[in-house]
C-alpha cells in the first residue's frame, strides 16, 4: 500500500467513506485494536474539517493520501485561500473560515477546537497547517 489517494466531493456523507478506507488501509499495514479506532476517528475529524472548509456547494475535492513508508501516514488536504498558520492557530483559521457557514440556522458551530484536541490526543504525529493553498493535515502513526 505505498500510495493510495482518495478524493471525495465536499459532502458530509463521504466522510464515512474516508473513515472506512482509512480503517481498511490501517489494518493492512498491521495496525490493530485501539489504534484502528484512533485512525478512524482522527481521519474522520480531519476530513470533517476539510469538508466544512470546502463547503458543499463547491466542486473542489478533499484529498486523502495514504502512505505506509514507516507505519501509516495520512495527509488530508482541502483547497482554499487561507492565512498562513500552524497548529492551534491553524485550527482557529479554519474555524473562522467555516464560522457562519452552518450556524445561521441555529445549528451548533463546528467545534474546530475540539477537533484539534482529538487529533493531538490520539495521533502520535500531527501537523495542521493553513495557507494560500488551503488546509493541510498530516497524521502519522509510526511503526
Amino acid at each position: 500500500m505505498p500510495q493510495v489517494e482518495l478524493r471525495i466531493a465536499a459532502r458530509p456523507a463521504l466522510v464515512r467513506t474516508a473513515r472506512q478506507v482509512a480503517t481498511t488501509l490501517a489494518r493492512r499495514v498491521g495496525l490493530a485494536g485501539d489504534v484502528l479506532d484512533e485512525v478512524r476517528l482522527a481521519v474522520g475529524e480531519a476530513c470533517s474539517l476539510a469538508v466544512a472548509l470546502v463547503g458543499e456547494g463547491s466542486d473542489a475535492a478533499v484529498s486523502v493520501r495514504f502512505r505506509d513508508d514507516d507505519g501509516l501516514a495520512v495527509e488530508i488536504r482541502a483547497p482554499g485561500d487561507l492565512p498562513a498558520a500552524e497548529g492551534e492557530a491553524a485550527a482557529e483559521v479554519v474555524a473562522a473560515a467555516v464560522e457562519g457557514v452552518g450556524t445561521d440556522d441555529g445549528s451548533d458551530p463546528l467545534p474546530a477546537g475540539s477537533t484539534l484536541m482529538v487529533l493531538t490526543s490520539l495521533v502520535p504525529d500531527v501537523t495542521v497547517r493553513t495557507g494560500a493553498d488551503g488546509l493541510d493535515v498530516r497524521l502519522g502513526w509510526p511503526a
Binding site: 458530509p12 456523507a13 466522510v15 464515512r16 473513515r19 485501539d34 479506532d37 478512524r40 476517528l41 474522520g44 475529524e45 470533517s48 469538508v51 466544512a52 441555529g106 445549528s107 451548533d108 458551530p109 463546528l110 467545534p111 475540539s114 477537533t115 484536541m117 482529538v118 490526543s121 490520539l122
Partner: protein, 113 residues
C-alpha cells in the same frame, strides 16, 4: 451503520436511544431531534449512547448544544455510556466534567437534578 434514533418517556424523563454512527453527516438528525424535544417542552433528557458505534467531535458539539438548550430551561441532559472507546472521546475533550455520564438508563432517570 447509519444513525437510528428512538424516543420514549420514563417517569418524567425523555430517553433518546441513539444507535449507529454520530458524525458530521448524521449529527444534524440528532440535533433536530434534541431541538424538537426541547421545543416540545421536554427539558429533562437522557441520551442513551450504548448503541453508538462511532462518535466524533461534531457529535460532541451536538450534545453540548443540547445541554445548553435544556439548561436555558433549567433542565438536564444526562448521558448513558459504558463503552470505553466512546468515553475516551469525552475524556480527551474534557467533556466528562461537563456531562453527567451514567452506567444505565435507570441510573440516569433516577438521578436527582
Amino acid at each position: 451503520m447509519d444513525l437510528s434514533l428512538s424516543t420514549r418517556t420514563v417517569d418524567d424523563r425523555t430517553v433518546v436511544e441513539v444507535a449507529g454512527e454520530i458524525d458530521v453527516y448524521t449529527a444534524p438528525r440528532l440535533r433536530e431531534q434534541l431541538v424538537e424535544l426541547v421545543n416540545g417542552g421536554n427539558y429533562h433528557l437522557v441520551v442513551d449512547l450504548e448503541g453508538v458505534e462511532f462518535l466524533d467531535s461534531t457529535g460532541l458539539g451536538v450534545l453540548v448544544g443540547g445541554l445548553k438548550r435544556v439548561r436555558a430551561h433549567d433542565g438536564s441532559l444526562r448521558l448513558v455510556c459504558t463503552q470505553e472507546r466512546i468515553l475516551k472521546i469525552f475524556r480527551i475533550t474534557g467533556l466528562t466534567k461537563v456531562f453527567s455520564i451514567h452506567d444505565s438508563v435507570d441510573d440516569a432517570v433516577a438521578a436527582a437534578d
